[in-house]
């Protein structure tokens, strides 16, 4: 259902709920068949009202979803760049590990009389 159409229907349902309630107020015998028939209509109308409200909210969530998707791509890129920054420490770490290994090689070579 289109947005405007749903809005009009929702207003129509709300008006109908008010009209049913007013009619019920005017009936003295609250146990009468007429009163209960109106109550059945009232229940069906309020259930329909909640359904239309739900559809309205679904519409809002869909619009927010498409706006959020655009942000998602940017946040992914942002995290990639962050990972890039983290590699600075990793590069230095790798150099330290390589030099540590070199020291071991030199020591072993020296003790073996190679150097």
């Amino acid at each position: 259902m289109a947005n405007t159409e749903r809005l009009n229907t929702l207003q129509f349902v709300k008006d109908a709920i008010d009209a049913v309630s007013q009619k019920q107020d005017s009936i003295d015998d609250k146990q009468s068949g007429e009163y209960r028939a109106l109550q059945r209509a009232y229940i069906i109308l309020t259930t329909a009202e909640d359904q239309l409200v739900y559809e309205d909210m679904v519409d809002v969530v869909s619009k927010l979803e498409s706006a959020a998707n655009k942000l998602n791509d940017l946040v992914k890129q942002m995290n990639k760049d962050l990972d890039g920054l983290k590699t600075v420490a990793k590069v230095i770490d790798k150099a330290a590990t390589a030099l540590g290994t070199l020291a071991e090689i030199v020591s072993k070579a020296a003790s073996a009389g190679i150097l």
């Binding site: 229940i43 739900y54 809002v60 983290k86």
Partner: protein
């Protein structure tokens, strides 16, 4: 000899990188980014809650409505049974929709997290730690070579690990700060129009369609209670109490919903102000008002959210 050369090279490089510091954010600017990131955390939770609340709040009036039907009448019983079944599925439907919204808006929380990481000192600390390890590794190498030189009667080499470590740490630190600044500014700029898109929907659509509808539930609870009271002549305490609690819950939920909308407007204002204040390297003499106001508003909103969800769990 080698040691002083290394130090000289190190300081030369520091000077070179130091010239790039004109574009590094000041501590006061970084503090504002952090304040903004902290304030905006949890927005998805609170913004999705009003939709879940609607599903919870419709239960009381819908159940009231069935209690004045005659369950000995076939037609009444059928309507009552259908209505009873529909209440649960409708409540679950709204909860599922709220969860979906929370997932979509979660991108704003991810943005806050990335912004926090981008302006964090942790990256510099990691570089310092790696630089120290590098310095130790260099000294280990020199000591190994010195062992050989000593055996050959040659002069030992000076240990330069500490000097190299300090130079690398400083250079690496500056490099990170410059990149962190570039990225922070760039992403705040890029996010601005996209964040506005989300907030326009919240202001123009969410406000009437979620908050507006929520308010109407008070009327329905009262109607249901009134009819039930009229049918039984004298209302029971439990009915009266349920109506009172229901109407109070609607009022609290509506306040939360309008607060979400108000804080969304404040969020947008704070982000725009942040973008403006990050353009140039400036030592901010005072806090950014929009960011501070947003922080206060979000704190109050999160507190209300905790209260409402705690009541729900009871």
């Amino acid at each position: 000899m080698i040691s002083s050369q290394a130090v000289a090279i190190g300081f030369g490089l520091i000077f070179l990188f130091g010239s790039a510091t004109g574009c590094v954010l000041t501590d006061s600017q970084l503090a504002e980014v952090k304040k903004f990131s902290t304030a905006s955390q949890g927005y998805a939770d609170v913004a999705s809650e009003p939709i879940r609340q609607y599903g919870q709040l419709l239960v009381t009036p819908r159940l009231y409505d069935t209690t004045i039907l005659d369950f000995n009448n076939t037609e009444d019983l059928k309507v009552a049974k259908d209505a009873f079944d529909a209440v649960k599925s409708d409540r679950d439907k709204f909860a599922a929709l709220a969860k979906k919204l929370k997932g979509h808006l979660g991108v704003l929380d991810k943005y806050s997290e990335a912004l926090t990481a981008l302006t964090s000192e942790d990256l510099s600390k990691e570089v310092t730690k790696s630089a120290e390890d590098l310095g130790k590794a260099i000294d280990k190498d020199i000591k190994a070579v010195n062992g050989i030189r000593k055996a050959q009667g040659q002069a030992e080499l000076s240990l330069i690990g500490e000097a190299v470590s300090s130079a690398v740490s400083t250079i690496g630190g500056w490099y990170l700060k410059v990149r962190q600044t570039e990225l922070t500014k760039a992403y705040v700029d890029k996010m601005e129009p996209n964040i506005s898109l989300i907030f326009e929907v919240i202001e123009n659509e969410y406000s009437p369609k979620v908050c507006g509808q929520q308010k109407d539930l008070s009327k329905r609870i009262w109607e249901g209670f009134k009819k039930r009271a009229q049918a039984s002549k004298i209302p029971s305490y439990s009915d009266t109490r349920a109506a009172f609690d229901g109407i109070t819950a609607v009022s609290d939920a509506y306040a939360l919903c309008t607060s979400v909308v108000e804080n969304t407007i404040a969020y947008k204002g704070a982000h725009t102000a942040l973008q403006t204040k990050l353009k140039d390297k400036v030592d901010l003499k005072e806090a950014i008002k929009e960011v501070s106001d947003f922080g206060k508003g979000m704190k109050a909103l999160k507190d209300d959210y905790k209260t409402i969800t705690a009541i729900d769990k009871k």
